[in-house]
């Protein structure tokens, strides 16, 4: 599995020029007083998305067949993709948070008390996106995966909309539920979010393992 991780890091390094340029643009945006939490989130998302790119590189010219003759299991492959996505996104998030923190020390016009919760929200949203999208990419590949992701998004929207309607028909006030959520203090709130993320990652991982173990190459 270490070898796979190294391979993906090499692929990431080979795209370094693009990401460095992008990081510089983000840094410029930061100094031009763009929303710092948004910049942290955007850069984190861009780098996390590289996990999906590595899958497309692995698939390139029927590469999966050869890749699965190498010394690791299909479960290891899945584990590495999840690990890579989480580690890369967390690293980039921490790096940019540190940059923003340093700027807040110098500039003194930024409130980390506001930026941190917003940046955390972006981080958790990105993790959820990663957890939902990885099994889709592994099942359908990058091209069909895009279509499948749109399908999943529409289904999610329909489910949420349907649930809201059910709440409304049963005279339950969903806005009040959200308002109630807002009253939870940040630490427990993000603790709950972290637990939800962990559970969703767990479910997503077991789906991905099943998908890869069934796939024929």
């Amino acid at each position: 599995m270490k070898g796979l991780f190294i391979k993906d890091l090499i692929l990431f390094k080979n795209q370094a020029k693009f990401y460095i340029m992008f990081a510089m643009i983000c840094a410029l945006m930061l100094f031009a007083n763009f929303n710092p939490a948004y910049i942290i989130g955007y850069m984190t998302l861009m780098c996390m998305m590289f996990t999906f790119t590595t899958i497309s590189y692995d698939e390139f010219e029927n590469g999966f067949s050869f890749l699965f003759t190498l010394p690791y299991s299909r479960r290891d492959y899945v584990r590495e993709k999840y690990g890579f996505g989480i580690i890369v996104s967390l690293t980039v998030w921490i790096l940019f948070l540190a940059v923003v923190f340093m700027k807040s020390l110098v500039g003194k016009n930024m409130d980390m008390g506001e930026i941190l919760p917003a940046a955390l929200m972006y981080l958790f949203t990105i993790q959820l996106f990663c957890a939902v999208n990885l099994p889709i990419q592994l099942k359908f590949g990058i091209e069909k995966g895009r279509i499948a992701l749109i399908g999943v998004s529409i289904t999610t929207f329909a489910v949420v909309f349907g649930l809201a309607k059910i709440f409304e028909l049963n005279n339950m006030n969903i806005t009040a539920v959200f308002r109630q959520l807002g009253t939870i203090r940040p630490a427990p709130f993000f603790g709950i979010l972290a637990c939800i993320c962990a559970v969703i990652y767990g479910i997503s991982y077991s789906f991905s393992v099943k998908i890869m173990e069934k796939r024929q190459f």
Binding site: I6, L11, F66
Partner: protein, 283 residues
């Protein structure tokens, strides 16, 4: 035994594989057959890349799906239609392999790549067919694997490059108890390389023989209709009607040469034997 396949079955739309084969320790075993005969399906089944509908496969005394990462290190693979990601360079692959295989010899791998004239900083997708083939084979042999599974390793290569690769393979067998399962559509390559050969057609093994036996004992005889009628048919495996009479395959060349000196007897090549086994009529 390095690999055994017993009555392995795989059904596709309009195609069925049903075969048994063995790869013995110290042997180079060849698979020969026309396109679509099932060679790649056999390789993929043996490597656990596809599931099978029936039969047993044992590789290194285990089912392919039960092989641990450590055991997989003992297998080197070349697949005709698949390889390293085209987005990696040779330098990247060297680092990748170093972290995958405990017995990977980086210096030797890089030296062999240099000898083969492979560029280190060019992406694999920009390599020529020949360069890709060389890289695949050098990589498969870079970690002291006990088994090499080589699906068309010489495909797309010119004669000189093919000879070079065949020399690599021969040299690889000099050390220890190693085995190779190899397919090639150029059966001439296999005649000089393999200890035994399986001839495959439409998913079935039509003939399995030691290469020496195949080339020494098998013969192709040409007989006029009259000569054919007088002929003892017990050692004729296949026949094909021709304008002059019959073109026959026998596994007792010596018998017919001795007893029928007037007959034209040709030494069979694997290609000719395969063609007659497939196209010829069973007696």
């Amino acid at each position: 035994m390095m690999l055994t396949m017993e009555n392995v079955q795989k059904q596709y739309d309009g195609y069925r594989l049903d075969c048994s084969l063995e790869l013995r320790t110290g042997y180079i075993t060849g698979l020969v057959g026309p396109n679509g005969a099932g060679k790649t399906t056999i390789f993929k089944s043996a490597l656990g890349l596809i599931s099978v509908d029936g039969g047993k496969i044992r590789i290194l005394n285990k089912e392919p799906k039960d092989l641990t990462a450590k055991e997989r290190e003992e297998i080197g693979v070349v697949l005709y239609d698949s390889g390293f990601s085209g987005y990696l360079t040779l330098s990247d692959i060297s680092v990748f392999l170093k972290h995958l295989y405990k017995k990977f010899n980086k210096e030797e791998f890089e030296q062999k790549c240099r000898d083969a004239g492979l560029p280190f900083h060019k992406r694999i997708k920009e390599f020529s067919t020949g360069m890709k083939a060389k890289l695949k084979l050098i990589a498969a042999m870079s970690h002291q694997a006990k088994i090499l599974i080589l699906d068309e390793p010489t495909a797309g290569l010119d004669v000189i490059a093919r000879d070079e690769l065949l020399d690599y393979i021969r040299a690889y067998m000099q050390e220890g108890d190693r085995s190779i399962l190899i397919s090639s559509h150029i059966s001439k390559d296999l005649e000089t390389l393999c200890d035994d050969v399986y001839l495959l057609d439409q998913g079935r093994i039509v003939l399995h023989e030691e290469t020496d036996v195949l080339l020494d004992r098998y013969g192709l005889l040409k007989a006029t209709k009259e000569q054919y009628e007088e002929l003892d048919h017990q050692h004729i495996i296949r026949r094909r009607k021709e304008a002059y009479g019959y073109y026959c395959l026998t596994d007792q060349k010596e018998y017919y040469t001795r007893n029928y000196p007037d007959l034209v007897m040709e030494k069979g090549t694997i290609d000719e034997i395969l063609t007659l086994m497939i196209r010829g009529e069973r007696i």
